[in-house]
Symmetry: C2
DNA sequence: ATGTGACTTTTAGTCCGTA
DNA sequence: TTACGGACTAAAAGTCACA
């Protein structure tokens, strides 16, 4: 499992656990909906600060977001 | 403590614990020396895959590399 | 509500120096 | 051995129309 897929899986899991849509999470993390979608499909290679914003919006730590 | 500084501190700590120079770590992780230096000074915002390569070269997990 | 391709702008990341 | 600058190239960031 590559890191992009791990990140993708964790974001989707946590997002759905919180009952959020991609659009809601996109707003909360100040990321464009389509860009977030790309991350959640494992097609993007986001930077440290972008991932930190997503972790923040999901209410988890960044290391947690990257757990395998 | 922002994430760039946390990453910087952890990389430097782990690198020195292993007795490696920046240049050796740069080679091991296939990253340019000057760029690695910038990361280790907290001035850069590296991508997921670059951080994963560094974690790998240091023999730690990526989440571990990002622990506060 | 999500997936996708094509796109432009910005920044990551490289390579060359100097100190 | 590390820090830093400039110039460059590759890729991320960010947006849009459409399915």
């Amino acid at each position: 499992m590559d890191w992009q897929s791990t990140l993708a899986r964790n974001i989707r899991q946590l997002r759905q656990d919180k009952g959020l849509t991609q659009e809601q999470l996109a707003v909360d993390s100040s990321i464009d909906l389509t860009y977030l979608g790309g991350i959640e499909r494992g097609r993007r290679n986001p930077s440290l600060l972008v991932m930190a914003r997503i972790a923040d919006a999901l209410g988890v730590s960044l290391p947690k977001l990257l757990e395998k």
